[in-house]
Symmetry: C2
Subunit: 124 residues, 2 copies
């Protein structure tokens, strides 16, 4: 079934992908409808196999659900490239907030915006 094709694309991608990117990728191998992609993605998210993150561009990005996935992005406002980083340990902060506010934190998203080294270089 098509779900496997869609899931495979996500599994094999080092980056998070938009529904459209996944659609384009899957379409190279099989016929599929955009609705099916969206439906399947929501399905995978519900089953906690895939993680969905909405970024500042208002587009949802999907990636393999994985405890070790950082889900922290450096996003270049010039070229729109996204780079992930693992440099920020927010678990410590999350624990602190939980302790001091009683808020039961289950997930988080972090986005840094700026200009990537490549674009800085090109601007000169």
């Amino acid at each position: 079934m098509k779900k496997d094709f869609i899931f495979d694309v996500i599994k094999n991608s080092p980056n998070s992908l938009t529904a459209e990117e996944i659609y384009n990728d899957v379409s190279q191998n099989i016929d599929v409808n955009l609705s099916t992609v969206y439906r399947t993605l929501n399905n995978l998210v519900d089953k906690n196999l895939v993680t969905k993150v909405v970024r500042q561009d208002k587009i949802a990005y999907y990636e393999l659900a994985n405890e070790e996935n950082p889900k922290h992005y450096l996003i270049c406002d010039k070229c729109s490239g996204a780079f992930s980083t693992e440099m920020c340990n927010l678990d410590k902060i999350a624990r602190k907030i939980k302790r001091e506010t009683g808020f039961n934190i289950t997930s988080h998203t972090l986005e840094f915006h700026g200009i990537c080294p490549e674009c800085i270089k090109n601007a000169k």
Copy 2:
């Protein structure tokens, strides 16, 4: 002009607001069109007077631009309430990333998701 009314609502709100909330608020005092609200908001954002943040619900939230504004939110997945926190000092992390990757970070957004104390209590 209406820009002042819109800006005032933002200035006087302790929370970040959606365009619709601002529209409703302003409408209590003067006649205004939703397009005008959006246009004015984009204007204020361009002038760095107001900050716009897109959250996981895909809705843009606006608040007064202010260096001291935390822009870190605790969002309850049950009641959708949003609470801001100042507990996380990301500047340190931002500096580290800048130093180690050459990425010139200019802003960031952070969202914690979970269940707020109130909803935890009500669930029992």
